[in-house]
Amino acid sequence: MNSKVADRIATTIFYLIAATIVTVLVGLLGYILFHGFSKLNIDFLTSPSSSFRAGGGIGNQLFNSFYILFLTMVFTVPLGLGGGIYMAEYARPGRLTNAIRTCIEVLASLPSIVIGMFGLLMFVNLTGWGYSILGGALALTVFNLPVMVRVCEDALRTVARDQKEASLALGITHWHTIKTVLLPAAFPSILTGAILASGRVFGEAAALLFTAGLTTPTLDFSNWNPFDSTSPLNIFRPAETLAVHIWAVNTQGLIPDVREVADGSSAVLIISVLLFNLLARWIGSVVHKKITASK
């Protein structure tokens, strides 16, 4: 009898825990979206921010975030593919493979602030670039690389073995088999993983504080010459991203409308991350259907 009562109490507690977790998420998202949504308008999203006065927007920060994300993915995707292909297809059990695995694990578990400090040392001071978009993107590459390697390795490993055998048995080299059979088959999972990783990169701030910096120079969005100092495309200019902006206005900001700007920025950040999430799922399922269904 006693044990039945205990069982019932325990079950109730588990339901409460599940409800708590759901409530936390709903509360967080609801709060951000509820407060932030009213701030969102074209003007806020496109106008430059202000250091002192109210009414600044997040146009530059939004651009910087996407630009750094883009560069980061340009670096990480090929490197992650390379590492993933090596680990899934070539690595033989042994010391080297163990060493690579350990390093992936170490890199993946490093605090992002530590990666930011490494970036400060390498890409800011040693190179003499100062705070720059490129430095930020390279620091985020270190941050994102272990994730991409794992994504690519897992994706390749889940490709059915008979596809690989079919290709090899036709007298096609291993390398060509990887390129023409394994990678196309793994593509949906790699794409999904890359988009999810993008969401993580997009929201990262600590690794950027000391690499891409906390400021953005005045940008001339009609100047698309990447070597010009006022051009948004210049990779050697400092750039404050949206996530960094949220931190900066809250802790160091002088503007009177901190709450409004932070509310709006958080909403944009969250919505972007949600969109990355949905996009990943949607593309994953669409590509999957396209590949498996008859054309």
Partner: protein
């Protein structure tokens, strides 16, 4: 076979030495991907060496006492007689990490058990996406909500400034909750079915089965889940920095403001001159973070070697 090749002996067609070019292309591909893999090793070694030498500089070239650094509770690098006692930050980091794990562990493992044992049919469908979305929320957003909702709330209810160890603990526990939950879920669902069945067969209730059979069996992986969550909490910078209050003294209560290794780095890295003593001791704090993440990895390795299922 083409007539031309047919007339060749198999040794001319099939031996490696007779068609080198195709094999060279094959090798080039392998070396290309090996290079990317080696880059990961290079990056890891570079980080360790750079942070190691930079972190030791304060002790080697600036004459800061390592003993003082690790035992003194007084931190004031800009005073006339600078003090470099890192104990408040080290303790602060451990305190928020352990406290947040104390909240996140029961919630996360409870959530995992809910998904795998209590309501496996629909529980997973609801909680899985919730967990995935929680993972996706950037840490600055957690920090911002902590700052604008949690801190005022604590100020009104428990008193004080609101900025406190308690606030840091709550924010961190929510941040690491998805990590703990998802790994704990994997742990629970990889248990063999027979374990449950044999326990139910001897008349145990669901709770008895969970508590006496399943949780002990999954224990090493459940601990891994908690350690991974703690590793994340230990290294988190901005979210904690926004709510913890950032004072240099030891807190006497959980409602007092405090500081951690990451928060002091975040705050002062930008204000100090690169190469100065005040700056170098920040790198020493970062070295502690690096060493701790190695320790967390060793701990996880140890736990996974004890995995039963």
């Amino acid at each position: 076979m083409d007539n031309k090749t047919m007339t060749m002996a198999a040794s001319q067609r099939l031996l490696k030495k007779s068609n080198k070019s195709a094999l060279q292309k094959e090798k080039r591909g392998k070396y290309l991907v090996l290079a990317s893999a080696l880059l990961i090793i290079t990056a890891t070694i570079a980080i360790t060496i750079f942070l190691g030498t930079k972190g030791l500089q304060a002790f080697i070239s600036n004459g800061v006492s390592l003993y003082e650094f690790l035992t003194s509770t007084k931190w004031n690098p800009t005073a006339e007689n600078p003090l470099y006692g890192a104990v408040p930050f080290i303790l602060g980091s451990f305190a928020v990490t352990i406290l947040s794990a104390l909240i996140a562990a029961p919630l996360g493992i409870g959530g995992a058990i809910f998904m795998t044992e209590i309501a496996p049919s629909w529980g997973k469908k609801i909680l899985q996406p919730v967990i995935e979305l929680l993972v996706g929320i950037p840490s600055v957003v957690y920090g911002f909500i902590g700052l604008s909702v949690l801190v005022p709330f604590l100020r009104d209810t428990v008193g004080g400034q609101g900025f406190s160890l308690l606030a840091g603990m709550i924010v961190l526990s929510i941040m690491i909750l998805p990590t703990v939950t998802s790994i704990a879920t994997d742990a629970m669902s990889s248990l063999p079915k027979g374990l449950r069945e044999s326990s139910y067969a001897i008349g145990a209730t669901r709770w008895q089965t969970i508590w006496r059979v399943l949780v002990p069996a999954a224990m090493p992986t459940l601990l891994t889940a908690i350690v991974l969550g703690m590793a994340r909490a230990f290294g988190e910078a901005l979210a904690v920095q926004m709510v913890i209050g950032n004072v240099r003294s030891l807190p006497s209560a959980i409602t007092d403001p405090s500081a951690t290794l990451t928060t002091i780095i975040t705050l002062n890295m930008g204000h100090t001159t690169f190469g100065s003593v005040e700056n170098n001791v920040l790198w020493s704090l970062a070295l502690i973070l690096l060493v701790m993440s190695f320790i967390f990895i060793l701990l996880i390795r140890y736990l996974s070697s004890r995995r039963q299922f």
